[in-house]
Symmetry: C2
Subunit: 587 residues, 2 copies
């Protein structure tokens, strides 16, 4: 049974402190048996994160070291504050894309202003997420429906993929606005493709795919111990990065064929950075900051919950917001850029055996070692290889299966996916998400404003009443029993009124209308006003209205509003439909 | 029983034509017995409409004759196309206020540009309403909840009242932005009050109130025939207007004391007007046009439905939109301004005996006679009297009783009223309505995203299961029966997941979870995904999940999505909770 043992419910100052600083919970009770898993996971994630951090920084339009800087302090802060034991925080594809599209109009990629804006963005996201967590707004993320997320993710995968093709082709494009323009420029520049760069990129991508998909079955066949499968397959990026550096350096591909490389990366830990407090900049960044705060949290909480449920641990969404917010504040003050919990890296962390936040602290330590001592080794790393790392990573974001499944579940969801997908590609990411959000809410309101209403009858020999059109039931001439399958609120009261007047008109012999309220979960003032007018109108037409199966909270409301007296007293309301039908002479 | 006899359901070309042109329906079958009522109502409404039309035009910032012009052709067009037999179309207070606030920033009140903009506005409203009717968007008006309407109407009454005080005081104010500024200017100008004007205004208002409220009981006491009560009390405005014209003319109040008067009104029918098609103007007017299209329709449909139900006639909302739209087009091309069906004037029409649209046609004919021959008589009409007509009319808009009732029905509705009221007063009418609309939708989403969930047990000796906290019920140790009181959709799935995991954790002995779906009206893709994950998680924890009372439409959906197989087949879903409990060994 899922329990909450990892978040003690006991009261007192110690417990409160442990709730605010989960590191106290696992740190003070650290068990030796957890150490091997944490060390192995920490190392493997570092191996994955070194190339990914640089690649995602490139996707965000930032110098590669920024991605590494964002992989040190933020990880430690999340480990201290986060409620997930396996979440791997750091640069991720989706957030990097949002950074690039948000900063693009403000400054030239890689310029001093651009880097400063990225820091300000991280600071804003840190403040927004922390504040949302403190005032417990974590629930807001629930309004992004699965359909919107699927539509958005698929479109983002295409946008990210398209943005990296120029590096694989070795061409430089003018800054593009939107997906279509990027494609247009790519086609225009196709004839300038650098063949050697393309070869490096394609070979890197092929090798990465081989490591992640081709190798595991072989390793199994060769009888390699399962404990080693993850370390071997996950070292793919490191092998590809190392190999491509070696090839470029040995053959002098950068000098002789103009293959674009990472070149100089400053050595040493990031110096303390101080983000800009320029109000104009903050205003310009606000939509992007809000979008990243939401999207980053959404991605992170989804994977954190998924992994926690496998070990019967619980995630606290608001504490997660605080932890991610503080991690972003850490990125803002150590020359990084916005971070969040990544899906695939967290899965690697989990499957490599991460038991506590110590794994992330080890990862951070290893990345710190890299920036301290090993950045000269990365000089000859070709950009095409980094682009290949991104391309292979975003292939996992393409999720056609979910699109098909949503379409099967409900056409509304299917249409929402398509609208969100097209809107994100067509008018941009933030606007596209808003379109998806509004669409899903509008569809929900549309459905609830046109409720399903069923005429019901008794299932022979039972006290159960069901739709006359779906079940063989007994009905009763003088009594019209109607079940309304929706809460009554302003948007559906007029529909309800028209429907009930219509159905009564179709049954001229009915003298009694029984409204079965089993599916009415609340009633608002608009509905009550309509209902009172309707019942009066029906009474004038010789039809008496009764209610049955009114729920507790609704009954309280009806009494408070004086509706019960209006209806004609408590004996017009029956506890069960069976009792109502008996009392109305329908047995 | 309410029937739809006035809108024949028979098919064929004739019936279709009668549906599009309701005048054919009542015109071709006109019965002599309807004539006296129609004539009386037509005359009384004309008597009310002459001063009101001029007064509302003044409220809208337009010359008085514009209000009269808007009371001719639009009435005839509505009579031809509308489905209500008693609706009195023409200038109304709310729409006039919206015209004034919408046009205020664009041109000086009463200027040539201002009048032209009012025509363009009427044209736009005509097009919007007609189009909405044709594409059947009449349901959209349902999204304005009763709470929003009450909050908005009360605030509008205060704004209208404040805007007229300057005429009663005989002072001229600079153009004010918003309610607070208007009050500020009034207080500032209080020392310039024209005593004679104030006396005229207060006397007019007092006499109007006496006619409408003081006189009816006296007439009853004096034994006046009820058929004469309405004509006598409704002639109040005519008496007041006539009296004040006489007083001003006889005593020369305009010359000697500077009492502001209507002065010259051009004689003759309006000439054909041609509204401006300036794109910039149209863009600037669009928010106002949309607001008036909605608010005007809302006011009109509410009173039309109310009156129709008293005679068991039916109103077709989309045909109403077309009729109002065409009436506004008529206003646009005959030098009028936006119109709609007025609440109080329609009630006068109804209670004076209007049986068909002929009453409105008679009203229009009488107004035409006035503009043809009698406008010189209106020369000395003091503006203070017109302001008094408005002040007395808008007193009926103040509706504190509804505010109190909504507060009793639900705190959510109460808060919505207050927010809408304050927003309309504080940030303006259109923006205030939007704030109210968004608030009511947000509250609805908030409630449905935190559903009521009850643990239920059997009511002894029945097949009925109710909340264990409200009813004395029998439960069963191994089986946890949970009723979810809401449809499952993206905004509440996470809440549901947390709740169910929590409740299962609290019942360590429960091996079976029965989810009673009687109040689940639909399930979306997000919810299904969460549910599948939840059921898997519970299965791993040794808890088996069953469903009962799944409704037809939801069952179809579950089958289509493959959820039934996922759950473990059809035998995991029971038709009734009673059957489920028997099968699970809880009898």
């Amino acid at each position: 049974m899922p329990d909450s043992s990892s978040l003690p419910k006991s009261s007192g100052f110690g417990a409160s402190l442990r709730r605010v600083l989960p590191i106290l919970d696992w740190g003070l009770n650290y068990q030796a048996k957890d150490l091997p898993g944490d060390m192995m996971a920490g190392m493997i994630v570092a191996v994955v994160l070194i190339p990914q951090g640089m690649a995602y920084a490139m996707l965000a339009g930032l110098p590669p070291q920024v991605g590494l800087y964002a992989s040190i302090l933020p990880l430690v802060l999340y480990a201290a504050l986060g409620t997930s034991r396996a979440l791997a925080v750091g640069p991720v594809a989706m957030v990097s894309l949002l950074v690039a599209t948000g900063l693009g109009p403000l400054a030239a990629q890689g310029s001093h202003d651009y880097i400063a804006a990225a820091l300000a963005l991280a600071l804003m996201i840190g403040l927004i997420q922390t504040l949302m967590g403190v005032v417990r707004l974590g629930f807001l993320v629930n309004f992004l429906s699965h359909a919107v997320i699927v539509g958005f993710t698929n479109a983002a995968a295409l946008i990210i993929g398209a943005s990296q093709l120029k590096h694989v082709m070795g061409v430089s494009l003018p800054p593009a606005e939107g997906f279509a323009e990027t494609l247009h420029y790519l086609v225009q520049s196709a004839h300038q493709t650098n063949g050697i760069t393309l070869l490096l990129g394609v070979a890197s991508a092929g090798l990465l795919l081989f490591f992640s998909r081709g190798l595991p079955p072989w390793l199994n066949r060769w009888g390699v111990s399962p404990a080693w499968v993850t370390p071997i397959t996950r070292s793919g990026p490191l092998v590809v990065v190392g190999g491509s550096i070696g090839v470029v350096w040995l053959l002098g591909l950068d000098q002789r064929y103009g293959v674009a490389i990472v070149a100089d990366i400053p050595q040493g830990l990031p110096s303390l950075s101080w983000p800009s407090f320029d109000l104009g900049l903050w205003q310009a960044l606000l939509p992007t900051a809000l979008a990243i705060s939401f999207v980053g949290f959404m991605e992170s909480i989804a994977v954190a919950k998924g992994l926690a449920s496998k070990r019967r641990q619980r995630i606290n969404p608001n504490q997660e917001l605080v932890a991610l917010g503080v991690a972003n504040l850490g990125a803002a003050f150590t020359a990084g850029y916005p971070v969040t919990g990544g899906v695939s890296r967290s899965m690697v962390n989990f499957s490599a055996g991460a038991n506590t936040g110590l794994a992330s602290i080890i990862t951070a330590g290893l990345i710190a070692l890299v920036v301290l001592f090993f950045t000269p080794l990365l000089y000859h790393l070709p950009l095409a290889t980094l682009a290949a790392v991104i391309l292979v990573a975003v292939m996992n974001l393409l999720d056609i299966k979910s699109v098909r499944h949503l379409w099967q579940v409900s056409r509304w969801d299917g249409v929402t996916v398509v609208i969100t997908f097209l809107a994100v590609l067509g008018i941009g990411i933030e606007a596209g998400i808003v379109v998806g959000l509004v669409t899903s809410i509008a569809f929900y309101l549309w459905r609830t404003s046109h409720p399903h209403i069923a005429e019901v009858g008794r299932i022979s020999g039972t006290e159960h009443f069901r739709n006359i059109q779906r079940h063989p039931v007994q009905t009763c001439e003088g009594v019209l029993a109607i079940r309304i399958d929706e809460s009554l609120y302003f948007a559906n009261t007029k529909y309800l009124e028209d429907y009930l007047l219509g159905v009564v008109a179709q049954h001229p012999k009915a003298k009694t209308l029984l409204i079965i309220c089993s599916a009415i979960n609340h009633i608002d003032g608009s509905a009550l006003e309509t209902l009172e007018r309707l019942i009066e109108g029906l009474a004038e037409a010789g039809v008496t209205t009764y209610l049955s199966e009114v729920k507790g909270p609704v009954m309280d409301q009806l009494q408070r509003a004086g509706f019960v007296d209006h209806l004609g007293g408590r004996d017009r309301i029956f506890l069960t439909t069976h009792q109502a039908m008996q009392a109305l002479g329908c047995t």
